[in-house]
């Protein structure tokens, strides 16, 4: 692996390797000295063109626990607001000899551009680009599910995948890079994925994705799921009315108290509820659901640091110049912004 741009070009072997490494990294977080010297002298730049709390903090904590130096860069208050291009910003980072660039950008495909353009030599990690992908989020979701299921089975999670697991991803799929990354990664790991959303919040071409699609959350729950992932309604990306009212949305596609009770009634006692955060409580998820023992929201944040440590370690340790680039630099089709007429 040279870059981590998308979960589409992660093989099962690569994905399991990242999760297994993350498992060892998680053990470090439970120790008194939460630090490893593995990336001493390496520089990681957090290049954030879009607001973020947990992803940036998570990457920063991950890099610091591996003893790397961290430079945080956010577009606000930088020369980007004076009109500096991505290329010039990237070359500035190159001149400062960054070893890895963690990039979040509002434009789908920006990390791909950075990785393939030859502007910089550093490893590029996609921390969310537009409505395209957010691979480390999908990896931490998979990690959370794998841990939960292997604890249920009483087995060691190392080397396991998610074969046979039923995962429902519900909500604003159209604007969700988390959903896209998860669909591909969960498929690679052998899980069965069902997307649940109002028709207006499903992207064009979703029928070609390796998953099932439903408009009815209750029917999907009734069919039995091992994990349900609620997506945030991304009001900041919505420039049109995608559903009649927030009330109607929460009643039909939100995980409310009634559906929480329904899980018990259906006998799904081990089903977990995931949410990538930040949560709109009362809209896509009710407070009771978010704070219930089924919710893994805080575990996801904790696991995020471990997964990002694993990613940074696997990308940055080892002699990059001698190992041939394998995955990550393959051409990936970037989804085009959906024209409104298509909806």
């Amino acid at each position: 692996m040279r870059h981590l741009l998308s979960t589409q070009d992660l093989s099962r072997e690569d994905a399991v390797r990242i999760l297994d490494t993350a498992e060892e990294m998680a053990a470090v977080g439970e120790r008194e000295v939460k630090k490893l010297p593995a990336l001493r002298g390496r520089t990681v730049v957090n290049l954030f063109f879009e607001d973020s709390t947990r992803t940036r903090i998570s990457f920063e904590a991950a890099a610091k626990r591996l003893s790397a130096d961290v430079i945080n860069f956010s577009a606000k208050g930088s020369s980007v607001s004076k009109g500096e291009s991505l290329k010039d910003t990237a070359q500035t980072l190159e001149a400062m000899s960054a070893d890895a660039v963690v990039i979040r950008h509002w434009a789908s495909g920006a990390p791909e551009r950075l990785a393939r353009s030859g502007w910089i030599d550093a490893a590029v990690i996609n921390a969310g680009d537009g409505t395209h992908e957010h691979p480390t989020q999908a990896l931490l979701d998979a990690f959370t599910m794998r841990r939960h299921w292997s604890r249920l089975a009483g087995s060691d999670s190392t080397a396991a995948d998610l074969a046979g697991m039923r995962v429902a991803i519900a909500g604003d799929v159209l604007h969700s890079r988390v959903a896209r990354s998860n669909v591909w990664l969960l498929k690679t790991l052998g899980a069965h994925v069902t997307l649940v959303a109002p028709p207006t919040l499903l992207p064009v071409g979703v029928e070609h994705w390796p998953c099932e699609v439903s408009y009815d959350l209750d029917a999907v729950l009734a069919s039995g799921v091992d994990a349900i992932m609620m997506l945030r309604v991304q009001a900041e990306r919505m420039n049109d009315s995608f559903f009649p009212s927030t009330r109607e949305y929460s009643r039909r596609w939100g995980f409310d108290d009634g559906r929480l009770a329904a899980l018990d009634a259906l006998g799904l006692k081990d089903t977990i509820i995931l949410h990538p955060g930040p949560m709109n409580r009362g809209l896509e998820i009710s407070s009771a659901a978010a704070d219930s023992p089924r919710s893994t929201v805080l575990a996801q944040v904790r696991n995020g640091v471990s997964v990002r440590m694993a990613t940074l370690y696997l990308l940055l340790s080892g002699d990059l110049r001698r190992t041939a680039p394998t995955h990550g630099v393959r051409a990936v089709k970037i989804p085009v912004e959906i024209p409104e007429t298509a909806l």
């Binding site: 390797r17 060892e24 490893l36 340790s317 080892g318 002699d319 001698r322």
Partner: protein, 189 residues
Amino acid sequence: MSSEATAAGSARTVLTAADIDRALTRIAHEILEANKGSQDLVLLGIPRRGYPLAQRLAGKLAATDPSVTAHAIVGQLDVTMFRDDLARQPTRAPERTQLPVTGIDDKVVVLVDDVLYSGRTIRAALDALVDLGRPRAVRLAVLVDRGHRELPIRADHVGKNLPTSSFEKVRVRLSETDGADEVLIEAAQ
């Protein structure tokens, strides 16, 4: 000589299964003698082959001293993240670090590895230990010492001193990891 060793051609068996067992029995007694008993002993094996060796040593300690519970004093110490050659080698996946429930604070930690060569692995292990606690003393037990040290490190307990050329390869095979117990020397290719 096993069929694998014959297939390797230039490989020469230097320790048989019986030799390995005798060496471990002697090391177990040496550990008890040096420690004046079994109190506060913790055996930490370095992956991969140090760990099964540590388990076997603990078994032998328990056989000699009934107050020892073998599984309660054995752990595994991964040193991958502390190596000084991380930037020069292909990426290595870390292994699990698992300490006995008693921890290592104020214990006598015996590091166990299969082959002592440059000493760099042990250097990394000492660094890893510092982050996990503060043992009263740290000792080193190895099955084979093949010389060519690059750091001022020596073993307290050695199964066999094996003078080698740095072009040769010492291969330790254990039944837990490789299906058979033997130590081979392979000539340079």
